[in-house]
């Protein structure tokens, strides 16, 4: 059984890897591309730890066959910050103590980014439902929700400042 | 004097809930256990394994060589772990 050659864009850079047809994108990202920031909590789409953006939409990498990634644009937690600056979500997660063990954090960050890209000014309830696909067992979600709301407020303020300057 | 208090499960072996001993006979937990084992044969092994002591209310996890001050109250209690 031959392996499939997959070309795609990962975190802004062209990437190629080989995968068996039945491999998940999660395994391909972790094992073939060394992006171990993408975590496996369940492998069945029930915990969200492997959340990545696939063509700007949040998905569970464990529920995608690796060959499906051909020609797509993928963003993982490793692509969220640039060389100098953290993404505002990363910063508010740090400042707001939104993580304890940190295993779910990459998935939450990607799901939260997808939410704010779509809805820059979400209510608490909207954040809770948008992040319902991400399980956290440590925090009780409280500080995660607050950090996402803080990031939204900050990004909106930055945008206003940017627009007025 | 040192007052020794037994947990309920130990009480079934010792037949009494507490007793007092001369401080000079039990200057340490080890010596106290030895004393108790002489009085209640076999109880020493039970106390050496899987038991903590509380001396004057302070729980000590691995107490065998712990000194016992005169006038102390010593409780033998099951060892405590946690999550």
């Amino acid at each position: 059984m031959g392996r499939t050659h997959v070309s795609c864009t990962i975190n802004g850079h062209e990437a190629e890897f080989l995968a068996d047809a039945g491999d998940s994108l999660l395994n391909a990202l972790r094992d073939e591309v060394s992006l171990t920031g993408v975590k496996e909590g369940c492998g069945t789409g029930d915990c969200g730890a492997c959340s990545v953006l696939l063509d700007d939409r949040v998905t569970c990498a464990c529920l995608i066959f690796a060959p499906e990634a051909e020609g797509t644009m993928i963003m993982t937690v490793e692509g969220l910050a640039d060389a100098e600056h953290l993404h505002p979500l990363q910063q508010t997660f740090l400042e707001g103590s939104a993580l304890q063990c940190g295993i779910c954090t990459p998935g939450f960050l990607m799901a939260a980014k997808a939410l704010l890209d779509k809805n820059p000014n979400p209510t608490e309830t909207e954040v809770r439902y948008a992040l319902a696909g991400n399980l956290c067992r440590c925090t009780g979600y409280d500080k995660i929700i607050r950090s996402v709301l803080d990031a939204a407020a900050q990004m909106n303020a930055d945008q206003m400042n940017g627009a007025s300057s | 004097m040192v007052t020794v208090k037994f947990s309920a499960s130990l009480r079934e072996r010792t037949g009494e809930s507490d007793l007092t001993v001369d401080a000079g006979d039990a200057p340490s937990v080890r010596r106290l256990i030895k004393l108790l084992d002489e009085r209640f044969p076999g109880v020493g092994e039970q106390l050496s394994e899987g038991h903590s002591v509380a001396i004057n209310g302070e729980i000590i996890a691995d107490p065998l060589y712990e000194d016992i001050p005169d006038g102390a109250e010593v409780h033998f209690i099951p060892a405590i772990a946690g999550g």
Partner: protein, 291 residues
Amino acid sequence: MDYLAPTSVDEAVGALAADPEARVFAGATDLIPQIRAGRPEPGLLIDLKRIDRCTAVTANDAGWVVGAATPTSRLTEDPAFSGALPGLSEAAGLIGSDQIQNRSSLGGNLCNASPAADSVPAMVANDVRAVVAGSSGTRTVPVGDIATGPGKTSLADDEFIVEFEIDRPPANTGDAYLRMTPRTEMDIAVVGAGARVTLDADGNCESARIALGAVAPTVVRVADAEAVLTGQPINDDTLAAVAAAASAACNPIDDKRGTIEYRKQVAGVLAKRAVKIAAERAGGATTGGTH
């Protein structure tokens, strides 16, 4: 296992017909966990998402044609679709988390043939039709006729659903879908209830379609409840009759997610509530959805 991403319906039909171990998929959100849980691996995975027709959403005067592999988030985020068919949109939006929503599809939800599939009662209530392609051509089938039992469909081995035809609802019509799950999200329906109600000029029910999920091997149309409503006002009495008819129509099982008694009782509760919401929507009144 091999992977194929055909770009036309014909190519997909050919590949499916040529390999008895081939299997089509859309979002794979059910398929991958099933393989992981020990189901036999298909010899060939046929990805329908690169076929334009399978992922297109087109609106016309008659209604919508929705590609069977279209991610359900496309529907829930489409204001025109969600405005016209809020119940169906909400049902589609309950298939898993946002992550799942970007992959799950009406076609997958239907063909996985889970009795608990959220979108199916809402599709049945809205009389949605599936366009099925196969070696012997295409045919159009009511959605309610696709699943024949848990994990089983009426599709031939070389057939798959290309798209759904969804009629624009007539005037004074509303739909709703409610489900019961222990958690608010990330859960499988213990009971689901879809309803569509059309009101007449007096505000009485002109016609109704009510369908229940997770209470029988396949989705259950509740003809008795529909009959109770026809020509009648929507009030506590008729709603109680709807609930009783819905409970009576159930043929559920005891399993880890619920008991027979629970499912029967709550099917009546949700049917009643769904009819009420649908009627309010039909009358132009707006109410909250499931969240």
